[in-house]
Symmetry: C2
DNA sequence: CGGCGTTTTGATGTATATCAATGCCAGTGG
DNA sequence: CCACTGGCATTGATATACATCAAAACGCCG
């Protein structure tokens, strides 16, 4: 199951030379609008490090456009992506003063960067803000808990199907076509699989007629019922 | 990987006839003391349901003694335990008004049950309480995120070792002997393994000299370095 | 067109699941 | 006090989903 030894060498996890590509969206859809006004917009190229594991936690971030992966490395190079953050998502919460994961842009990405100290200062006499912070954190907890179920008890097909449905819902696409900002390796590390298994599973879902793959980063959800069935 | 079809029939997940057994501890160790004063103590027998999936969320709970499992069932009977809550832990947070998991006592258990409405009312003009709620939620998020790494990228030995070290640390035992309140099935459903694999892995760790098993519920951590090594 | 990073496909291996006994207590009743 | 029972836990034999290793194929950019 694990990826052994020299994995770091062959799998380029470290932020790569950027070569941007992805669409802007530029507007938040969710009740994080309160936050978005409290910080400055920052842009990142593809595969840039936003912060590293153990970095001191100075800011909280709201995604405006693009996508961010939150991840953790094991000593031997195995990587787990805890979450993908899409426009409207918030990341960077920490109880201690240090980040326990790293955050990297998946593609060209814009975020609002908010000083934690400022945020907490305001929250201490703004009950509404304070409640907003809490409920955003709860939302993230819920996402993590759902993902636990996926990683603990679902097989490859179910994992991929769940992933596709989730991304489709969150990217708020009105059509059935989803654009995946992340690579197969990212998906694999998110779903606790290997890149080969992700690829094979996608082609298998295509053969079953559940999806279509006009290109590797574009997925059409053909049979949502079939996919939903793989969700529980 | 998945447990198919008739699993529900053979694996008795539904709350069983109680037949209590486990030690009291009766005092909170953690900075939840603020909360403990805000609700009433409630006791549960072994394997009692504290709340079910989709139940409306009226309360938040603090564990005083015993242990609680937070879990979710898949349609076909596969179960994932999201967390074990030990004395001092808080559970029952929800953003919506419904519980998204069920909570069951693992053994005889005492909790403080606090009305959510009351808690939030107070929090809205008590910045300290409000911050406490938030940081408890963040702590739980962190726990879930750590667990994601375990489920996504660790093998059976690493999972079990991580589990033992974690439980030992959290149960605050001064010695190297840990008393496990939960069954092998519970451990398996927490670690995303089967009961057989958990059992085999434990005996394997014993053969390696990393642990000793004087009885099935008692584990002695003999070689913490070996165990820690399996942690990263 | 040529090269490089990524994805797909194929052949094989292995960790863990599954199926099936057997063993171990703790509690119960004769 | 001892046989009997019913939950758990352990152990063994076998199956399988996914990982691993290796090689094409694709797509993009220079």
């Amino acid at each position: 199951m694990p990826t052994p030894a020299a994995a770091i060498a062959t799998r380029a996890y470290a932020p790569l030379p950027p070569s941007g590509k992805w669409k802007d969206d530029a507007d938040t859809h969710r009740p994080v609008s309160i936050l978005s006004t409290l910080g400055a917009v920052v842009g990142y190229d593809r595969n840039a490090e936003i912060y590293g594991e153990d970095a001191s936690a100075e800011h909280v971030y709201v995604v405006l456009s693009g996508a961010v992966r939150i991840c953790k490395l094991l000593g031997d190079g195995r990587r787990q992506i805890e979450a993908f953050c899409l426009p409207g998502d918030v990341f960077g919460w920490e109880a201690s003063g240090r980040h326990r994961f790293s955050a990297e842009s998946v593609c060209d990405t814009k975020v609002v960067r908010i000083k934690r100290s400022m945020l907490f200062a305001r929250a201490s006499d703004d009950a509404e803000l304070s409640h907003a912070l809490w409920s955003l954190t709860v939302a993230e907890l819920h996402r993590a808990q759902n993902h636990l179920l996926v990683l603990g008890r679902k097989n490859a097909q179910e994992r991929v199907a769940t992933f596709l449905v989730d991304i489709a819902a969150r990217s708020g696409a009105s059509t059935d076509e989803v654009l995946l900002p992340m690579s197969r390796q990212d998906i694999a590390d998110y779903l606790g699989l290997t890149i080969e298994t992700v690829s094979r599973t996608l082609t298998h879902l295509e053969e079953r007629g559940a999806i279509a793959l006009p290109s590797s980063r574009r997925v059409v959800l053909r049979d949502r019922n079939a996919l939903r069935q793989l969700n529980s």
